[in-house]
């Protein structure tokens, strides 16, 4: 590792020492300025991009969340600074605790199932058999479908009166379930749909992780007389840990902000029983005739903070693994 790292540095040092020999003192100075200009010119587009599309929107969202916006001062300017009033309003709202609980349940249950099923399928497909490539491709379908299509399809299937799920239940003599309209079932229904959508992502990443595990380890394990179960827990699972960590992190960030599936299937209802922080922020900002930009931005920032916490936890975990 250390030899490859010194190599480019050495070459640059070499360049620096050879150049002055070719040009007089004055040109060296101007060439250094020119280098700086070049560097700045290369850097400017990136910086401009980062500021315009990352820093500014983030700042704007923070700014929105600490101001008392009404439609009038949104248009005409001069929204007063109100400190943390919007956050207080959000934290003390009757919607907050249920929305936070639903977000937590939705995220953790989704990830647990997506990861477990994804890993089981990845291991299954890793032992290549006939048609395994075709089957694996088929498993990608949920991922390729536009979310509006899959969510609408789920919502048709789970319809209380004319849905296929209830008619199947009826055929086997089970009384129908109000999947989307029962406050106790709505969150379960959107969870099922979200797990189904998330499995392919876990499958693909974990499968590629599996391919990076050297075959010799499996051969050695086989020679030592390890069974399938032992091979999985002693070889596959530990060696997949880095991949698992990144899959879980990405899954966490992605699931925290899931909005479309819930909105299309239940609109966060009935009566708020499947409202998560993501649907709540939309509901506040755009869901009614009168936009509530301040509190909406506050909820959005809480979501960003949660995702950031997850990211920091990941980095810490990674550091500990490397150390």
């Amino acid at each position: 590792m250390s030899t490859t790292r010194t190599h480019p540095v050495a070459r640059r040092a070499d360049e620096v020492t050879t150049r002055p020999r070719m040009s007089p003192h004055v040109t060296r100075r101007s060439s250094r300025t020119r280098d700086r200009v070049t560097a700045a010119a290369f850097l400017t587009p990136l910086l401009a991009y980062l500021i315009l599309f990352y820093a500014f929107p983030l700042f704007r969202n923070l700014d929105l969340s600490v101001r008392g916006y009404t439609v009038r001062n949104f248009v005409q300017g001069g929204a007063p600074f109100i400190g943390f009033d919007n956050y207080v309003k959000v934290f003390t709202s009757q919607t907050f605790v249920p929305a936070l609980t639903h977000t937590a349940v939705f995220t953790f249950v989704s990830i647990a199932f997506q990861f477990t099923i994804g890993l089981a399928l990845a291991v299954f497909f890793h032992s290549s058999f006939r048609l395994s490539a075709t089957l694996r491709a088929l498993f990608l379908v949920p991922w390729l479908l536009p979310l509006i299509v899959s969510a609408s399809t789920w919502s048709w299937m789970l319809n209380s009166d004319s849905g296929v799920v209830n008619s199947l239940l009826h055929a086997v003599g089970v009384s129908p379930v109000n999947w989307l309209t029962d406050p106790n079932m709505a969150l379960v229904s959107v969870l099922v749909a979200n797990i189904w959508i998330g499995i392919p992502f876990n499958l693909v990443i974990l499968y590629s992780g599996l391919q990076n595990i050297p075959n010799e380890l499996y051969e050695a394990a086989a020679l030592d007389g390890a069974g399938a179960w032992q091979t999985f827990w002693r070889v596959t699972f530990p060696l997949l840990r880095p991949v698992s960590a990144i899959v879980t992190l990405l899954g966490l960030v992605y699931t925290l902000k899931v909005f479309d599936i819930i909105w299309i299937m239940t609109r966060g209802g009935p009566a708020g029983s499947s409202t998560t922080l993501a649907t709540w922020t939309y509901q506040l900002g755009f869901g009614s005739l009168l936009p509530n930009f301040g509190p909406a931005a506050a909820v959005g920032n809480i979501l960003i903070a949660l995702a950031l916490l997850a990211g920091l936890a990941y980095i810490r975990l990674q550091r500990r693994q490397e150390a």
Binding site: S23, S31, R34, D35, V37, T38, A40, A41, F42, L43, T44, P45, A48, L52, T70, V71, R72, F74, V75, Q76, G77, Q94, S155, N159, S160, D161, S162, N178, L180, T181, D182, P183, T266, R267, G268, G269, P270, A271, G272, S273, F286, G287, S288, L289, L290, P291
Partner: protein, 418 residues
Amino acid sequence: MITHTHRTATAAVAGLLAVGALAACSSGSSTASPGGTAGAAGGTYTWWDPYPQYDASSDWAKVIDRCGQAAGVTMKRTAYDTTDLTGKALLAGQQGSSPDLLLVDNPVVSTLAEAGILTTTKDSGLSVDGFAANILAAGQSGGDTFGVPIGANTLALYYNPKVLKKAGIDAASVTDWASLTAALQKAKAAGFKGITFSAVGTEEGTFQFLPWFWGGGAQLTDIGSPNAVAALDLWAGWVKNGLAPNSVINNTQTTSWQEFQAGKIAFAENGTWQKADAKKNGFEVMPLPGKDGGTAPAPTGGEFLTLPVQKDTARYAVSAKIATCMTDTTNIVGTDNTLNYIAPTEAAQKEQLAADASLKPWVDAVGAAKGRTSDNLGTKYPKISEPLWTAVQSALTGKSSAQEALQQAQQAAKEATQ
């Protein structure tokens, strides 16, 4: 050495170009004000509407062009999705680039007026003569009028004559809540569903609930009143007793209509916009009954033609001329027939009725209808509507009783409108 300089220059130019392009983008949006090419006559006038389904070759677009020509200007029309239009109009107002004429859904008018984006008809000189007072009221707040309706739609009670016949229900017997519930029970006994509607947790849910709410004598200023509870108990009872399918809790008006189309439901509460499809399917229509008979006031739907504030106030005269042309009897009858709307003026309604007598229940329903933001509620309406639809959902799912749900909603509405 030459290549080195050359490379530096290229990079610097590339960098500058990128920055320049970004600057150009940002300045482009702020100078795109339609007020740029001023002049009382001539020039281009901008028009925004929520009808992306009509392209430049449609009759709708042609009427706009003709009215522009009559006023001596060229029209530049842009169509947005209706949910997009409010946000776009607010942003345009913020940047001082509002269109000359803006067609928006009526409950949004008071919000845009509150934002100071719209001119009053007093300021713009737009005439409001001849428009039905109850329809015009949706565009009024604080004693000012902010535009003119180009048409109205509302809700009524569709029924499927085939189902009614099989269930032995006489449509004429349905005159109040009790007789309607009795009819629904007959339909259920014959193996059908009684009625479908939309109680979804959005503005649509409140829109559909209001005819029962108002028809029972409740007022939006007190959504926890006993009259309101009676209306919600009616709906909750229908769902609980299987007279209405459980899916109404999640149905939009479109999905509710699709269920009705399947032919297994006796009645459906739905809007004027379905009347062409109803005719095709052989469905009939009657006004929604009030609690003790009569026609319940249903909320008015439909768009208002407004004149947003411009820097150059001289443009209002031409815009008003265009608006008046768009709402003259010939044009508005043509427009409202295409849009499946009922005309907002008596003269135009008469002409619509003369051409199609089956519109009578709709003209009656529109005559009894009421704007959601009327009663001087204005921007308070959205803050009442949201707790109301939440209460409807709570009661229909059995999460809480109608009484509890509405009392909680009244509390929330009171806090929000303070």
